[in-house]
Each structure stands twice: as C-alpha cells, then as structure tokens.
Symmetry: D3
C-alpha cells in the first residue's frame, strides 16, 4: 500500500473514531473545517492553495499531505504549486524546507497515481 493510501486510511479511520465520541464541539469543528474550502466568492482551488500555504508555514506534514492531494484534484498545475510553495518558503523561512520536500514528494506521488488512474480521490 502506498504512502498516500496509508495516510488516507489512517485519517478516515481516526476521523470516524473521533466523531463517534459524540463531543458536539468537535463534531461541529470538523463540519466547519470541510466547509471552509467549499466554493464561495473564492474558488475552491484558491482556497486549497490557502490551505496548502497555511499548512506549510505552520509545518504540519499531515495537513500538507491533505492539501497537496486536494490541490491535485482541483487541477492546480505544477507551476502554480511551486509559486504557492515559494510564498510559504519566503514567509516561513528555511525551517519549512523539510515540509516543502515532503509536499513535492507527495505531489510527485499524486502525479504518478494520476497517470495510472484518472479518477483518483480522497
């Protein structure tokens, strides 16, 4: 099982477990989180780039993984991807470099999956 698939399964399993605890605050937060990236006056693609840059400067690999996959699904091009990462790198500094390595590694894995399977989903 590849890394992206592993991430998705752990994420899905644990989200289900957390929501089963019936803490109303946590449930509502998870709902708010999904809705923040839905199309509004800003397109989903722009919002996913916002999520990617925010996750990169805050240096959270799992959040980066999620937004890399979502950016690929929203048809962010490689050039757009690197321009967004450049903003993250300049704002967040060299401390973000290991996370930028991770983001690009996952981008390449997504592109490979895409070329093998058109309908790749999270």
């Amino acid at each position: 099982m590849d890394e992206i698939e592993q991430f998705r399964r752990y994420r899905e399993r644990m989200n289900k477990r957390i929501l089963s605890a019936n803490n109303l605050g946590i449930k509502r937060f998870f709902a708010l989180d999904s809705r923040a990236y839905e199309k509004g006056v800003l397109p989903t693609k722009t919002k996913e780039l916002l999520g990617l840059v925010a996750s990169s400067v805050l240096r959270c690999n799992d959040c980066i993984a999620y937004h890399v996959i979502r950016c690929v699904q929203e048809e962010v091009s490689d050039e757009e991807f690197f321009e967004a990462l450049n903003v993250a790198l300049v704002v967040g500094g060299s401390i973000t470099i290991p996370h930028i390595r991770r983001a690009v590694d996952l981008l390449d894995q997504c592109r490979k999956k895409q070329s093998e399977d058109q309908s790749f989903e999270i």
Copy 2:
C-alpha cells in the same frame, strides 16, 4: 497621522536602515520577499491572499497590516477578504481571533481612506 500611515513610515524608515547595513544576505532576502508576490502563473491578488492567510495563522500583526493594505490595492472584495480570513481562522484556531480583529479593523481604515482618496498606495 493615522495608524496605517504610521505603520508605513516606521516600516519604510527601518527597512532603509536595515538595508544600509550592507549585509548581503539580508539585502537578498528583502529582494526575494518582494518578488514572491509578483504576478506569475498565479495572479498577484491570489498571492496577496496567500500572504494574508500565512501572516494570520502565524499571528504577526505587522505582516497582516502589510497584506491587508496590499489586498485592498489588488481590489480584493470584502467577501473575498472574509472567506480568506475564515480559512485562517479554521486552520489557526481561536488564537488567531485577536489578529483577525486587527485585520478587519485595518480593512475598515483602508476602505475609509480609499473613499477619501482614490490613489492610496503603500
């Protein structure tokens, strides 16, 4: 002198002072910083929104001030502005709220200046 003007003058004066120190690394960093927001495959407006969200989740009031002003100049609408801030709020949590208050306060000050003077610049 209003707050925005005060911020601009202090920023300009100190940037000049820092660059006068002739540390080559710092000079180059300042150049990279400006270039990161120039039009590429992503429009400047999108990049400024990336800068605003990154500054908000990292909770830096002066960086927020800079990007609020730049967003206003790039004709970000109020609705776009609040959608971007919502992403920052969800990603960064309630700890960002004081900075979101600041961002909105400055947005309102910019809108006021704009209505008084069309050619407002940083």
Copy 3:
C-alpha cells in the same frame, strides 16, 4: 479608562463588526469558541485554566487577557493561577515570560477592580 476596560470595548466592538460581515463559517466558529468553555463533565473553571495555559504557551496577549478575566470570574485563587502559569512556563519556556508578566499584571488589575466593585464582568 483602564486597560481591562479598553480591551473589553475593543474586543466587543470588533467582534460585533466581524459578525456583521455575515460570513457563516466565522459566525459558527465564534459560537463554537464560546461553547468550548461551558460547563460539561469538566467544570468551567478547569476549562478556563486550560484556555489560560493554551494562550500562554501560544503567547497571545489578548487571549491571555480574556482568560485571566474569566479565571478571576470563575474564582480561581492566586495560588491556582500561579500553578497553572508554572505549567505554561515549563512547557513553553522563557519565551513565555513576557506573557506571564502580562498575565500577572492583569491579574493584579482584576483583583484591584474586584476589591472596588464586587460584580465585575466581561
């Protein structure tokens, strides 16, 4: 007007302004934020101490101000207050010291207000 009063007025005015923007995500987040500290299986007092320590290690003066006032209202004693700040100091390190100074300064201002006026509210 004292510092605590100033903080409360700015906070109240800007929260009203932000909520008036009618961004549904932001409105719901503000509601979630209030509810997180309501009595559950953990008493409000414990939750406010959690909020105080979280704000201190994340080093947000306005969030600290809010939770100091709320702790005073929930009848946190000075000794409890310092034990909670000690946890924040050990976890977050000397970088939190300026914020701990701020917290104690505000605690003293609240105690003074309390001694003058029994029904002090946020």
Copy 4:
C-alpha cells in the same frame, strides 16, 4: 513491542543519556519539569490536562503521548479527555487535528492495555 512501550523505552533511554552529560542546567530543567505536575492546590489530574492541552496546541506528538498516558493513569474519563481536546482544537485550529487523531489513537491503545493489565505504568 507496542507503540506505547516503544515510546517509553526510547524516552527513558535518551533521558538517561542526556542526564549523564552532566549539564547542570539541563538536569535542573528535567527536575522542574517533573515537579510542575505534582499535586499542589491544583490536583495532578488537572495539571495533566493542562499538559495535554498545551502539548496539543503546540503540536508535539511525543509530549501528547506522555500526557495521554499520564491522564489515563490519573483516571481521566473519556468524556473529560474529549472536552479537553475540544478546547485544544478550538484554540489551536484544524492544524491540531492530526495530533488529536494521534492522541485518541494512543488513548485507545492505553484503554486496551488497561483492560488487559490493571497496573499499567510509565
């Protein structure tokens, strides 16, 4: 060997190694760290919840692991645990979600160990 046991052994081995270096400052810091959670006017249980929330908003998986184990030993109930995590989630935002997944995963592993072995210790 399970994950919790692995974490405990690495932690114990490296703490011993670090203390053997005879840096007086580091030794004293480690002592202060232990003492911060000892019963005072606040019970140990409350202090461990403070440690858990602080570790969660600062997003440190190893610190979370330590405080999850300690909370279980201090007989924090699942409901109390989720209410504390909800405060962390609201304060720290969606960037804490991967760490909340980790905390809940470890809680479940601790509960399983507990049901197999009453005297589980760190």
Copy 5:
C-alpha cells in the same frame, strides 16, 4: 523616559512581583534562565547571540529587547549582530522581519545611549 528604560523598569517590577508569589517552580525557572547565559565552555557573548536568534525566530519582541541590550553589553559588533540576524531571517522567514526591524531599532537606541553614557546596564 526612553523605550529601553521603560522596558527595563516594567521587566524589573513584574519579575519582582512574580517572584513574590512564592511559587517554587517559577522561582527556580527564573534562576535557570539567568544561569543559561553564564560563561561556560561557550562564552557569554556566543550564548547571548544564541538567545537573540532564538528570540527572533520565535518572534518575541520583549525577549529580543533583552538580548539586544545584553549583546551590546557583551560588545557584539554591528557586523556580528547583522550576521546573527541574517541567520534568524533565513531560518524564520519574512514573518520575522517586523521583529528584525525592532531589534535594529533597539540596537540603534542602545548605541546612542552608549555614546552618551559608557556604563550602561540592564
């Protein structure tokens, strides 16, 4: 009263107040904090530069103020100062720039005080 003097007085007054609370953990932490910068195998000057860079990447203006003053007292030259700030800028990114402005502003104020009064102390 100048800014540096104001910072010193507030710091001194509040430290005294905090230590008067007789929380043993906090008192010991304050002692550890002072000792960390004392001459060891590394000279105090190097340790103060470590403190300056750590404070800059963690973006704490009061901590920066303290270490700028201490660096001046330890006879850090302007060139050394800017090289250390360049490391902070590269590691921490543009989000540190407002704090670097602050550091340089305070450096200039210290140099001015020094030229007026040889024996300037914190």
Copy 6:
C-alpha cells in the same frame, strides 16, 4: 543504511528535485540558506550553533539533524553542544525535550561514525 545516511540521501534527492522545477524564488532561497552559515565576522562554528538552537526552539527534527551533522563537522565539542542545547531548552521549554532527545541521539550516531571513519561528510 543508517539513519544519518538515509536523511542525507532523501535530503539530497529532494533538493535536486525541487531545484529542477526552475522556480527562481525557491532557487535563490536555497542559495541564501547555504550562504547564511558561511564564515563572516562570526565563524561558521558559531553560525552552526545558531542554526542548531533556532531549529531546536522551532522544533524541526530534519533541521536539527542537518545542524547536528554540521556542528560535528565544525568540531563542536560535546560540552559546547550541551550548553547550546541548554539555551534552547530554557528558551523553548519542555516542548523541545523530544527534539533534544533526537539531537543527542544523532550526536551519538555521528560520534560513532566519526570514530569509524575520519572523513565523514554531509
């Protein structure tokens, strides 16, 4: 293959991949990053200690790994190493302890490699 070697290969492979993307901003940032640690008025050894402490308080394991290796190459002694880590621990708090464990673990691995092979390089 040992951990240090694994880190070096992943780092080298991904850096090459990132630079191949031809984003000018990112390329220049990587150049600035290398230059920041070159000998100036401060020796490289001092700059690497600055990098180590900055990485420790920002809690980035990969950045810590890089600077540990570089410190060993610059002939930082164990005592100097622990004094620098003590500054990081005091500034950054107990939340840095897992990263300090990691730094010391890697230091020990480097020392072992050094004793086996005099010319060890990154």
